[in-house]
């Protein structure tokens, strides 16, 4: 079994200039992706892996920016922690609520307390959206 703790895929999101590094969860043992960059929207490719789609991450980042009133050019990567962006725990609660409303999902208490970065939020959202057959 190929031992991989993290594999990084770096993508250039077509609409923004931010490069988002997405880490695959360590539950995957099947395929090892080499480093490749693509300029077209390869976000559809990610459906195979367990990392969240770039659009979801983008949407989450937008909501976070709005809630924390960040300026448009703050560097926001998928790995940014909410606390690093100046959010306290109440802000995090607010963000999770806003995400619930936006994506029409319902986050459990236990899950909600573990969200610290944008990537985690996006992954959780993806999970919930898939489990619940959203219209």
């Amino acid at each position: 079994m190929a031992s991989l703790s993290t594999t990084s895929l770096s993508f250039k999101a077509p609409s923004t200039r931010i490069s988002q590094v997405l880490k695959k969860g360590s539950s995957f043992q099947s395929v090892t992706f080499g480093r490749f960059t693509s300029s077209t929207s390869k976000s559809l490719r990610l459906q195979i892996s367990c990392a969240a789609k770039a659009e979801t991450v983008q949407k989450v980042s937008d909501i976070v920016k709005e809630q924390l009133a960040l300026t448009a050019d703050t560097p926001l990567t998928a790995e940014s922690k909410f606390t690093a962006l100046g959010a306290d725990s109440l802000d995090t609660v607010e963000i999770v609520m806003a995400l619930e409303e936006k994506f029409n999902i319902s986050v459990e208490e236990s899950d909600a307390q573990n969200i610290t970065t944008i990537q985690e939020a996006a992954d959780l959202i993806e999970d919930l959206v898939q489990k619940k057959p959203a219209a």
Partner: protein
Amino acid sequence: MVSRSEVLSLCRAMLRAGRQYPHYNLREYTKRRTLDGFRMNNTDQSKVNEAYAEAKAQLVVLERSVKFHSLYPPKTKNIMEVKLQ
């Protein structure tokens, strides 16, 4: 002494309850007020227990109020909810 996670779950419960109002103004108000209220009482550590008990009572009131207000939902959509075209 109430723990951090209890306070956060109470906040979440209140926000969730407030979301169920059919009225735009009540929804927005509860959201704003709960967040402001929790932030204000954040600073004074000695009053945390009191504030927590008060908030718990308010949550009960909130849930009851949601049920009442749902009996008479507004007939027209509030202008603030209409998306700009």
